[in-house]
Amino acid sequence: MSYTRPKFAHPALPKNKLGYTRKEYEGSLTTLCAGCGHDSIGAAIVEACWEMNIEPHKVAKLSGIGCSSKTPAYFLSNSHGFNSVHGRMPSVATGANLANKELIYLGVSGDGDTASIGMGQFVHVIRRNLNMTYIVMNNGCYGLTKGQDSATADVGSKNKQGNINMFEGIDLCALALELGATFVAQSFSGDKAQLVPLIQAAMSHPGFALINVLSPCVTFNNNVGSTKSYDYVREHVHATATLDYVPPMEEITTAYDQDETKLVKMHDGSWLQLHKLSQAWNPEDKVSTMNALQEAHKKNKILTGLLYVDESSKDLHELLETSDTPLNLLPQSALCPGQEKLDAINAKFR
C-alpha cells in the first residue's frame, strides 16, 4: 500500500533518499532555555537520521525525566516516543526492544536521570547489551529541578551559588567500558560535526551504544569555575580522532594514510573512518581506551570522539535466541498451543 507524505515540504528543501526533507525529522518547538546544549544535540539527531535515510517511524525514542528527557518531543515527530519515569528509561527500552527487534531504539537521558536515580538500570542495560543508542545529555546538574549538583559534577567544580562540589564525579564512559559496553563515545553539544557521525555510528552498532555528550546548562551551570560550562568544555575537549561515517554500499574513495587513519567495519556494512588518531589508542582495544581516559583525566582533558567499539558482540535478542519475527507480530496461532496440548498437560497433573 502507499502512504501520502505530508504536504508541507517546501520543494526547494533538500531531500534524502527516502524523499524526506529535514522537516520530516523535526519535532515540536522546544520549550528549553535559549542556548541549552540539549537542543543542539536534538538538532544533531535530526541531521544524523535525515542523512542516514532512516524511516522516522522505524525509530522509537525513549527518555526518563529531566530537561534532557523532554527533548524527544523536539525531534522526530513521526517516531513514537515514550517519556517514562525518572531514571527508568532503560527498562522501558528493554521491554520495547524485546517486543520488536526491528526498530531503532534511541534513548535520551540526563546525568541525574542516568548517574543517580537511574544508575541501577543504566548498569544493567549495558550488561545485557541491549541494541540501542543511549545519549546522556550531561550538564553536571539537575536542570529541571533548578541546578543542584549531579553525580557527574567534577570534584572542585563550582556551581552557580558558588559552592564547590566535594564528591568524586562519575565518569560514565569509563563505567560503561568497565561494564562491557560495546560502543562508547563522548562528545560536546557544541561540536555538531563530531556528534552527527557519532550518532550515525551508534545507530549502526548492533548492541548497546553510549554517547555521553557534555551539554552545558546555560541557566544553572554555565558560571566561571564550573567544569561543565561552555567555555570550560570548549577549552578542554580533546578529540581522539576525527570521524567520518560511511553508510553501507558507499565506497571509500578518499585516499588515506595508514598511520593516521583507521577503518572500522560496522556490522551493517557501514564504515567508520577515524583520522588523525591520538597516539597509543586503538578504538578496538579496551585497555588502550581505559588508559587514554585515565591519561586525559590526569591532564584535565575531556577526551571526545569514538572511544571504543566492538562489533562482534551478541545483543540481548541473540543471547535470548528470540524468533526472527518480532515478538509483537506473532499471531495467536503461533502463541497459543491449543487445547490438545493442554489436555496432555492436564494429564500430567493426574
Binding site: M1, Y3, T4, R5, E24, S28, P56, H57, K58, A60, P72, S77, N78, S79, H80, G81, F82, N83, S84, V85, R88, P90, S91, V92, T94, G95, A96, L98, A99, N100, E102, L103, G120, Q121, V123, H124, R128, L316, H317, L320, E321, T322, S323, D324, L327, N328, L330, Q332, A334, L335, C336, P337, G338, Q339, K341, L342, I345, N346, F349, R350
Partner: protein, 610 residues
C-alpha cells in the same frame, strides 16, 4: 453417621527438616490419595530458609470434598527431633504419632491420650544402605510405605507413582519400590492394620487435576500469548515465572529452533515492571509477577501505566506483610495497595482467583482486559494458592476463544484518518484508540507520557483539559465493571437475611463454613467476589441482606474497606471475619466467628468440631 467417621476424613501432618528430600515423598503420599479418587489437599508449611529448619506438610483428606485447611491433626509423622515436643502436643486426642524409634522416647514425650507408632527408620536404613545420602532419602520413602499399610493406601498406586516419577531414570524404580516395601513389611510384622484412620477408593475426582496456582497461572500466561516476562525473584511468586518459562520452552519454540518468547530476570521490581510496560507499549503481551515488597516498589510505574493508558499484567502472589513480614506465610493483605497503587488519583483492575483453574482463566482474562481497557490488570493470588497443590478442574482454552487486543489502529485505519487523537473518547465508553509504534510512516505517532496531556497526547497544564482526561479515566473504570469476571452466586435466589462475601483462597473455607452453619440451623447466602471494580451485582447482593460477613485474610479488613469506599455501603452492615496469622483460614473459624457474632450457641452433634 457412618460407622467410621474417620474413613476418608482425616488430617496427616509430616514434620520434616528443610532440605532433606522429604518434599517429593510427601507429595507422593498426597498424590496416591488423589489417584484413589479421594479429595485431598496438601499444604507446605515452610520457613524462609534453605536447609536445616523445621517444615511441615499437612494433608487433609475429605470425602466431602472440603479443600480448605482444617485444624486438628489425626496422624503426625514426625521425622524431626527438633520439633518433636511441639509436634506431639499438636496431635488431636485419640490421634496417632509416628516417630523414629531407633532411640527410645523420653518420658516427657509420652501423652496418655494418643497412640504411638514407633518405627526404627534409622536402624532400618543403616542396615539397608551404606551411602549417607541414600539413608536420608530412603527414610522418607520408607515412612510412605509404612503409612500405606496403616492407612490402607493401595500399594499398586504407589508403584505407579514411582514409575511415573522416574521415567527415563528406570534404574531408580526398583530401589524406591524396595524402600516402600521395607515400610510395609515393618508395619505388617509389628502392628495391627489398617487403623481406623483409613482411605478407601472412590470415584469423586473424575477429570480433576492436582496442581498449584502458580503453575496454572504460568501456563495461563503462555496460553494468553504473553511473549515477554520480566521479573525479580521473590517468594512466593518465583515459581510462576519459572512455570511460564518451562512451558514456553516446550510449547513456544519455532521451526528454526528459536524462541517465541523472552524471559528477563531484571535487576529489581521497578525494572521488571518497566520492561513489561515497554513491551506492551510496543504491542507485545508482557507481564511480571511479584509479591508484596515488589508491589510496593512498582507503584510509580503503575501510576505511569494508568495515566498514559498502557496495558500491563502483574501477578501479585501475596504473602504476610508488612515489610518483609513472614515471607513464607500466606495472607490477602495487598488488596488496598493494589487497588489504589501509586500517587495521585489512581484505580486499578484486580482479578481474584480462588482455584488453580481460575488462575489459568484469569491470566487469559487479564491480558484481554489489559489490552481492551489499556490499563494495568493485577491478578491477586496468594502463597497458599500459588505454592500448594489443589484439586482443580482441568485447564481449558476454548476452541473459539480469540485474543481481545482492544482498540488498536492498523495502518489502513490511520491512512483514512485526518487527525489521530490518542486520548479521544470516540466511542463514549472512556476507552480511546491506541497505535503501536511503526504502524504507519507518517500517521499515528505520539508521545506517551506520565505528565498531563490533552486528547492529542500533547503536554498541558490547562485545568479543564486535565479534568476532562482524569474524568474520562473514571468513566473507563465504570466501563470495566461490566467487563471483569462476574461474582459467583451460590443459589439463584437469596434465602436469608444474612450473607457472607469472600474472595480468593478464603473461598474454600467459606464454602465449608456454609455447610457447618446449615447444620447449626443457620442458612446463609454467599458470594465469591472475583474482581475489582465491583460489578453492580455485588452491590445488589449486599443491598439485599441485613448483615453481611466479609471474610478475608488480613488484619485491617481491606476488602470491607473497598466495599464501603466504592459502594458507599453503611459500614455497620459489614461484619469482619478476619484471619491474619499467616496460616490459611479455616471453616471452623469462620463458622464460630459468625455464630458468636449472631449470638447463636452452636449445637454440637457427634463428630462436629466447632
Amino acid at each position: 453417621m457412618s460407622l467410621n467417621s474417620k474413613l476418608n476424613n482425616f488430617v496427616v501432618r509430616f514434620a520434616n527438616v528443610n532440605g532433606t528430600g522429604s518434599a517429593s515423598a510427601n507429595h507422593m503420599f498426597a498424590k496416591a490419595i488423589f489417584r484413589m479418587g479421594i479429595p485431598v489437599t496438601p499444604k507446605n508449611i515452610f520457613p524462609s530458609n534453605i536447609q536445616g529448619l523445621p517444615t511441615w506438610y499437612d494433608v487433609r483428606i475429605s470425602e466431602k470434598g472440603y479443600l480448605g485447611r482444617k485444624e486438628g491433626i489425626d496422624m503426625m509423622v514426625c521425622m524431626n527431633p527438633q520439633s518433636m515436643l511441639q509436634d506431639i502436643k499438636s496431635v488431636s486426642v485419640g490421634g496417632y504419632f509416628m516417630y523414629d524409634s531407633t532411640k527410645v522416647l523420653h518420658a516427657d514425650f509420652i501423652r496418655e491420650d494418643i497412640h504411638y507408632i514407633g518405627i526404627p527408620f534409622t536402624e532400618i536404613c543403616n542396615k539397608e544402605y551404606t551411602d549417607p545420602r541414600q539413608r536420608q532419602l530412603f527414610k522418607n520413602i520408607i515412612y510412605v510405605g509404612a503409612l500405606s499399610t496403616l492407612l490402607n493406601i493401595e500399594f499398586g498406586v504407589l508403584e505407579g507413582l514411582v514409575q511415573d516419577q522416574f521415567k527415563g531414570k528406570e534404574k531408580l524404580i526398583a530401589p524406591n519400590i524396595n524402600a516402600l516395601q521395607l515400610g510395609v513389611d515393618y508395619v505388617m510384622q509389628n502392628f495391627k492394620y489398617p487403623l481406623d484412620l483409613q482411605v478407601e477408593r472412590r470415584d469423586l475426582l473424575k477429570d480433576k487435576i492436582l496442581i498449584n496456582g502458580n503453575t496454572a497461572a504460568g501456563i495461563g500466561a503462555v496460553y494468553a500469548g504473553a511473549t515477554v516476562a520480566s521479573w525479580y525473584p521473590i517468594t512466593p511468586s518465583t515459581s510462576l515465572v519459572e512455570a511460564y518459562e518451562k512451558y514456553a520452552e516446550k510449547l513456544r519454540i519455532d521451526a528454526n529452533g528459536k524462541r517465541n518468547f523472552a524471559v528477563v530476570q531484571a535487576e529489581d521490581e521497578l525494572s521488571a515492571l518497566g520492561m513489561a510496560i515497554g513491551a506492551n507499549w510496543n504491542g507485545a503481551r508482557s507481564f511480571t509477577a511479584t509479591s508484596g515488597p515488589g508491589l510496593s516498589l512498582m507503584n510509580e510505574f503503575l501510576g505511569l501505566a494508568y495515566f498514559s493508558e498502557l496495558p500491563v499484567v502483574l501477578v501479585d502472589v501475596q504473602r504476610s506483610g508488612p515489610s518483609t513480614g513472614m515471607p513464607t506465610r500466606t495472607q490477602q493483605s495487598d488488596l488496598l495497595l493494589a487497588a489504589y497503587a501509586s500517587h495521585g488519583d489512581t484505580k486499578h483492575i484486580l482479578l481474584l482467583p480462588a482455584t488453580p483453574a481460575e488462575c489459568f482463566e484469569m491470566m487469559l482474562d487479564a491480558f484481554d482486559l489489559a489490552d481492551q481497557l489499556q490499563t494495568p490488570v493485577m491478578v491477586l493470588s496468594d502463597l497458599d494458592l500459588g505454592m500448594n497443590d489443589y484439586i482443580s478442574s482441568p485447564l481449558v482454552f476454548p476452541e473459539d476463544r480469540k485474543y481481545q487486543k482492544g482498540k488498536v489502529l492498523t495502518a489502513e485505519d490511520l491512512q483514512g484518518m485526518t487527525k489521530f487523537g490518542r486520548y479521544l473518547d470516540t466511542d463514549d465508553d472512556g476507552i480511546p484508540y491506541r497505535t503501536i509504534p511503526a504502524t504507519h510512516p507518517t500517521k499515528g505517532s505520539f508521545f506517551t507520557r506520565g505528565s498531563s496531556h490533552d486528547e492529542y497526547a500533547v503536554y498541558t497544564e490547562d485545568s479543564p483539559t486535565y479534568v476532562r482526561i482524569v474524568d474520562r479515566l473514571t468513566k473507563k473504570f465504570e466501563t470495566a465493571k461490566s467487563m471483569v469476571p462476574a461474582p459467583r452466586f451460590y443459589s439463584s435466589e437469596n434465602k436469608s437475611k444474612y450473607a457472607m462475601v469472600f474472595f480468593g483462597t478464603s473461598t474454600y473455607a467459606a464454602e465449608e463454613a456454609m455447610d457447618i452453619l446449615r447444620e447449626q440451623g443457620l442458612e446463609i447466602d454467599a458470594l465469591q467476589i472475583k474482581a475489582f471494580p465491583f460489578s453492580s451485582s455485588v452491590n445488589d447482593f449486599i443491598e439485599a441482606h441485613d448483615q453481611v460477613f466479609v471474610i478475608e485474610q488480613n488484619r485491617d479488613a481491606q476488602m470491607r474497606s473497598l466495599l464501603v469506599n466504592e459502594l458507599e455501603i453503611d459500614p455497620k452492615k459489614l461484619k469482619k471475619v478476619l484471619n491474619y496469622d499467616g496460616t490459611p483460614i479455616t471453616a471452623n473459624f469462620i463458622a464460630t466467628t459468625i455464630l458468636s457474632a449472631l449470638g447463636v450457641q452452636p449445637v454440637l452433634k457427634e463428630g462436629v468440631v466447632i
